[in-house]
Symmetry: C2
Subunit: 147 residues, 2 copies
């Protein structure tokens, strides 16, 4: 292991229906860096989000695809700059085809506003605005993204 | 939606056994930003990796926990700077308790070296070195992390 922090920001989602999932993220409008028909890559701040057919991801990883099932297992947290932007981005992603499981509300675990939604294959996002500029997690996420 | 790229880099894993999973990441040695006994946060480059009990994550998201199952669904891609570092980090994470499903090999989908492993709850990482400085994905991940 190197002494520096590892660059760990290529999040690859195994897609059950690659085309449908890719079209969802295209509708969301995040800039697409590449697409060769089975590997689609969208650039955000902090992470780069890639889609790859689940069967191929499993084969590449020498493991099995996780059986399809509902519910939450992980979230990709998106931080916006105001309470209003939580509502706006939630509405925007819903219009693109996201399923909103938690409408924007004042957050339970921090001072701010939060919503939860998932893409058409059940990959979850939390959209949050945290009114806590001195919070260690907020500071860490900005630092990790070079902001 | 704002015109800027969203800051989307707080990856939260729903932990079935919070203490065991936290101890794994502590053994890996990534710097821990906070820990209040049910929310543990490790800072990397690009992402900040958080652990939160799965039942609480599901409740916060107004959804259900995904039933436990094996196999791969997504990966967090870690990029290192040489082929040797792929082997070193794989060995280091294995010693910390990771399950290596694919030993380091020359990569199938790019020029470089790659290994796959998962944490004790089946969250997958690909450790990769890509000998492709002009590759669009490599450029995007560095840019997304402010490098």
């Amino acid at each position: 292991m190197t002494s520096r922090l590892p660059l760990a920001n290529l999040i690859t989602l195994g897609a059950r229906d690659f085309g449908t999932l890719r079209d969802f993220y295209r509708r969301v409008g995040w800039p697409q860096v590449m697409d060769d028909g089975e590997f689609a890559v969208f650039e955000l701040r902090g992470i780069v989000l890639a889609l790859f057919p689940l069967a191929k991801l499993a084969r590449d990883g020498n493991t099995e695809p996780e059986p399809s099932s509902g519910g939450i297992r992980f979230t990709i947290g998106i931080q916006v700059d105001s309470a209003e932007e939580v509502d706006q981005l939630t509405a925007h992603m819903r219009a693109a085809g996201a399923q909103v499981t938690k409408e924007p509300v004042d957050a339970e675990f921090f001072t701010g506003r939060s919503a939860y939604l998932c893409d058409p294959e059940g990959n979850y996002f939390e959209i949050a605005w945290a009114d806590m500029p001195h919070n260690l997690v907020v500071i860490a996420t900005r630092r990790a993204a070079g902001l």
